[in-house]
Symmetry: C2
Subunit: 430 residues, 2 copies
């Protein structure tokens, strides 16, 4: 057997998975505080669902990157490349769901694409979506949720906000045909990554005249507070779409507290690549980190679900997706200590295996993550083991100490040792 | 788009996934108390790894049920059908792991097999394994861990224990050629499901003579305590393997407390189908439940990892696997209330959306899972919504109450209403 993972796949050893679990716990506790409930959809979907036009596949080429397979009945299947399509299918299959339906789902998604640094073929998405509520409170709620996630993770972060209707209003303002809007938005999406000059070139290649490009890009130089920017835009965006975009944004900002607004930046050039967004869009970033890519993103997609389901019912929807891998990268950079094990104490029996096993059970019953020597090794080998895993405490259980009703607790950082009763060790370690 | 999941796959709506998450939380907290750390391996593996002979595929035909696929580079891949093969690959790829290495992994596995009631093509395994420690303390530790899992889940359960060497000793005792041992063990595995008569027939079909079958099966009629059974077996099992099996079992029992022994049953006919077990084996069951199949099972597999890796190094190993789906089935039967949402309180603004949003944020900051009206509905529609989701409390925020610095809390079960300050509501709900 050749010892390797398949291309683009990776293992997470304890030092990575412990951190991943901590991040997942922090994410989901915030999701639940906001009243979002968990669901789970399968990894394998019918290929027809995955190749539905309205999904992310539209221009992310995700459908080209779908891992395809079939079952023994020769059904055409695929591995999901995002969670949103499965969510839409779930909505369609459950017509009696109480609306609004607020759910979160975490899990691996798969893309059979090129491998780059930090780009894998299996990665986790953590999606929070609500269907059944129009723009207003819930858009603000999702933004507040993202801010709470950052806070809970201890990340100095902010969220950029824009509106797709406003963006289309800007395209109209520049005199560009709205039919080109989707294509223009894909180019604008690259401003942060490529810079204004490259975006200008790409727009030229898309046959937009220089004066229209200049008019469009000039707006992005706006300075001032969110209120000032919106006031300025009110003066120039006179189309129906533009006006609607501004008023939607104003509504979303109106619910946020002053404290929250400090971390919310109105960025009129924020585009988000995906074709299905219809209103509020947002993207979250970490300040002063080596990781410059966004750690979450999302927006409102009011048409997608009904289009996918071929339904004439309205399914206004909004969602945000957190990238577990990128968040873990950021957290890793900010952590000084890497946890290699969940164990808080390691028990070393000195010819007292039976009694030690009992004491270990007492520690565990008290809720302390406890490991013990299972190989009858000598003391120094056991200390090496505990040390290399970074277990903070060791307990020696020797016959002499036991006679006195005690065990020896050693602090592995300071090296300090104490004779204590089992009860006192528990008190100390809890 | 046809609205269905692919065959053998299913969705877990909130009422199922909330329970699943609770069970996962209870399982992993016990795993960690016993010093097992989490790892994550990918869903997709190279087909060569999945088709390795020593895996469960041996006679579970799992390799025939492997979902196969390929990537854009035409590599032969497959979806994992168990977690143990990936664990063995992980061990092989990380030669510097400190031994013993104790890990747990939870996640979906996939089998392209026939669909029956309760049998799906995607299901979760929760595996706890340790590699690098020989029979002794750690076998007892795994049994103690299973008992603690039952306790933490509130299940009245017990664990049956046997030993593969002892089982082979019994086969020798009956005068049957040891070459047939693996085949006999597969048949014995069916005693609980099919009964003694069908097992007898199957053994006859395998060309075992009637007197040998009678001798083998007679032992399983043994009555008495574990100690009495072991004493009896000591008298009749005189081969090397039989003796070793008895002494290994005695060692494993020796570490267990009297309290633990009450839930551990020595069952000499317990076989476990898989070919790779070498010593202690066990299987856990729930008492007095409609669910009669085992909820966990495992054992010692001292040769498998080195065989798989083609290594001459020793990798003694033991593991236990909990079936998340069957445990959730049991839990569902014992629960009177199904939780449909994580929300503990639902806030209804009465023309106070802005102030209500603020109050909702206060509840959330206090750690209370809170939802609110996001659609500007009337009071009765909102009460219907909260009611149908089973949210236990509703808070009305009206202008009059706000003037008095209060809100109205309604207990949705008793119907009782109180005027309280936001702070007092928080106190009450926490």
């Amino acid at each position: 057997m050749k010892l390797e993972t398949s291309k683009g796949m990776r293992d997470f050893p304890p030092e990575d998975k412990i951190l991943r679990n901590q991040v997942v716990e922090k994410l989901t506790s915030v999701f639940e505080k906001y009243g979002y409930s968990p669901i789970e959809t399968p990894v394998i979907e019918r290929y027809e669902v995955l190749s539905a036009k309205a999904g992310a596949g539209d221009e992310a080429d995700a459908s080209k990157e779908t891992f395809r397979l079939s079952d023994q009945g020769n059904r055409e299947l695929g591995l999901r490349f995002e969670l949103t399509l499965s969510f839409a299918r779930f909505i369609g299959m459950n017509p009696n769901l109480k609306m609004p339906f607020k759910r979160y789902e975490l899990g691996p998604v798969f893309r059979d694409g090129p491998i780059k640094l930090g780009r894998y073929r299996q990665f986790w998405q953590c999606d929070v979506d609500a269907v059944g509520a129009k723009t207003g409170l819930i858009d603000s709620e999702i933004i507040a949720l993202a801010l709470d996630v950052f806070k809970n993770l201890g990340l100095d972060s902010y969220i950029e906000v824009n509106n797709r209707k406003l963006l289309k209003g800007l395209i109209e303002f520049a005199g560009i045909d709205l039919k080109k809007a989707d294509s223009i938005i894909i180019t604008l999406d690259k401003i942060q990554k490529l810079g204004v000059d490259d975006v200008r070139k790409e727009l030229e290649q898309k046959n937009i005249s220089d004066d229209k490009i200049a008019k469009l890009l000039s707006v992005f130089n706006m300075q001032g507070s969110t209120a000032e920017k919106l006031a300025f835009l009110k003066g120039i965006l006179l189309s129906e779409l533009g006006k609607q975009g501004i008023s939607e944004l104003e509504l979303v900002f109106s619910y946020l507290s002053d404290e929250q607004k400090k971390r919310v930046v109105f960025n009129p050039s924020l585009a988000r690549g995906l074709g299905y967004y219809t209103g509020t869009i947002f993207e979250g970033f970490v300040k002063d980190s080596k990781v410059t890519s966004s750690i979450c993103g999302g927006g409102r997609y009011d048409d997608m679900v009904s289009k996918l389901l071929g339904s004439d019912k309205d399914f206004p929807a909004i969602g945000i997706s957190f990238g577990l891998d990128v968040i873990c990268d950021v957290m890793k950079l900010s952590k000084s200590i890497v946890e290699k094990t969940v164990s808080k104490v390691f028990v070393i029996p000195i010819k007292t295996a039976m009694k030690s096993f009992e004491i270990v059970q007492e520690f565990r019953s008290a809720g302390i993550n406890t490991d013990m020597d299972l190989c009858e090794r000598g003391i120094s080998k056991n200390l090496d083991y505990a040390n290399s895993l970074g277990i903070p405490f060791v307990v020696f259980v020797g016959p002499k100490e036991l006679e006195a009703g005690k065990v020896k607790l050693r602090d592995m950082v300071s090296g300090k040792e104490e004779l204590l009763s089992v009860k006192d060790v528990i008190k100390k370690l809890k």
